[in-house]
Amino acid sequence: MLHVQNRELVMPGQLLAEGGYIINEGAFREGGRVYASVVGLADIHGQKIRVIPLRGRYIPKHGDIVIGVVIDTHYSGWILDLNSPYVGNLFVSDLLRRKVDLVREDIGQYLGIGDVVVAKIKDVNELMRVQLEAGEPSMGRVAGGKLVEVVPTKVPRIIGRKGSMLNVLQSVGGCRLTVGQNGRVMIWGDDPRRVNAVIEALLMIEREAHTSGLTDRVRLMLEKVKSEGGE
């Protein structure tokens, strides 16, 4: 039996349902009852129930694409800040995709402190120790562009259903984007005016993530900037 409606805003401790529901995230079971554990939107699909969180830190998950910042180096790799309670460890062999003779090669030539790296979460163990890999062509150190940080819980909205929002941002916005699940977004574009418009659009998505018709509003906004022409 359900006690909330789909898409309803719920509070921690609020009763969502009774009975054999499958909990996805943002909820917990006590006895035969399911309660919300975070402020968020109830999302119910058949017997599956979850609460889409509206705020919260990024927690690394296997397979996620993230954007990290190098904060330390060690003998065989680097430690990356992931905008998360947990840092990521990137071995040089997982960056270069080859064996590296650490005695003969200075790994400092590949990455330094402050560098921004697009990486994939290769593994997370039960102690939340995070291994990264960055060997694919779209990964590794990034240069130029603008780094924007948004609330990580809003990332799914920035990407959109089947990448629809990201598509609009890139095609109508005239910029190239890399979106990290950890709330970091890289933007590259030739026209600073359009880069700024895309940043504006990202902030708009962050603010209005849970409203409908958002993709159309973003498209409209970016089209306006596009039609106003260059400098």
Binding site: P12, G26, G56, P85, E208
Partner: protein
């Protein structure tokens, strides 16, 4: 101010409240930019700000727990928050309050979800008028929810006491000073579980039971205000051009 002859006249307290009445309460969620979560609470003349950072990396590292997050809490009074300027920094009172406040909040937080990390709560008393620890806990619990920290429930807190032989809810500074009893309580309202309880003064068994009932009632009102504040911050406001 000198002790008035009576603190309750014709069933009304010095500020005009009935014995079972809360002071005016105002709660706002999400008032700071840098913090992961924050809340501002006014209860009568109390003005309290709470911020939450985390879960974040635990420093120093040797304080990390392999299987759980560690909740840390710091209660602090601004030097100008009280009549006579308080010297900055922790004293024995604030260290104790930090501890009991942390223990009042810890039961609701799913710490086991974030091994090795820290969740930090900072409670700042900007203006004090009795009941700062309970107001601080009320604020901190909203700040935790605002930070998106998974919780079993919110925590609502209030003080009850005895003034002129009457059991009253939510004591003011005068009532705390000249009354006989002060009992701060924090509650997980959904399951009616007490997470903070302190008392100094004197209660008979009967008075204690009545005080508890009054406190539960007060917490219930605070709970509704906390949820209202969070709803206000997060409810859907489609901004049309």
């Amino acid at each position: 101010m000198e002790k008035p002859e009576k603190l309750i006249v014709d069933g009304k307290r010095l500020d005009g409240r009935a014995p079972d009445e809360l002071r005016p309460l105002k709660i706002q969620a999400g008032v700071l930019k840098r913090a992961d979560g924050s809340a501002y609470v006014e209860l009568g003349k109390n003005k309290v700000l709470a911020a939450v950072y985390g879960p974040r990396e635990m420093h120093p590292r040797h304080h990390q727990q392999p299987d759980t997050a560690v909740l840390r809490c710091r209660y602090n009074m601004a030097p100008f928050s009280v009549e006579e300027r308080k010297r900055p920094g922790p004293d024995r009172r604030s260290v104790e309050i930090s501890k009991v406040a942390r223990e009042a909040l810890e039961p609701v937080v799913f710490l086991e979800l974030y091994p090795r990390s820290a969740i930090d709560i900072f409670i700042e008393i900007l203006q004090a008028d009795a009941g700062t620890r309970t107001t601080g806990i009320t604020a901190a619990s909203v700040a935790l929810a605002d930070a998106g920290v998974p919780m079993r429930d919110l925590v609502s807190a209030v003080a009850v006491g005895k003034v002129d032989d009457t059991i009253v809810l939510d004591l003011t500074k005068e009532e705390d000073q000249w009354g006989t009893t002060d009992m701060p309580i924090a509650l997980m309202p959904r399951k009616k579980l007490i997470t903070l309880l302190q008392m100094d003064g004197h209660f008979t068994h009967e008075e204690f039971k009545r005080a508890l009932a009054l406190a539960f009632n007060g917490c219930e009102q605070i709970y509704e205000a906390q949820k209202r504040a969070l709803r206000e911050k997060y409810s859907v406001k489609p901004e049309e051009e």
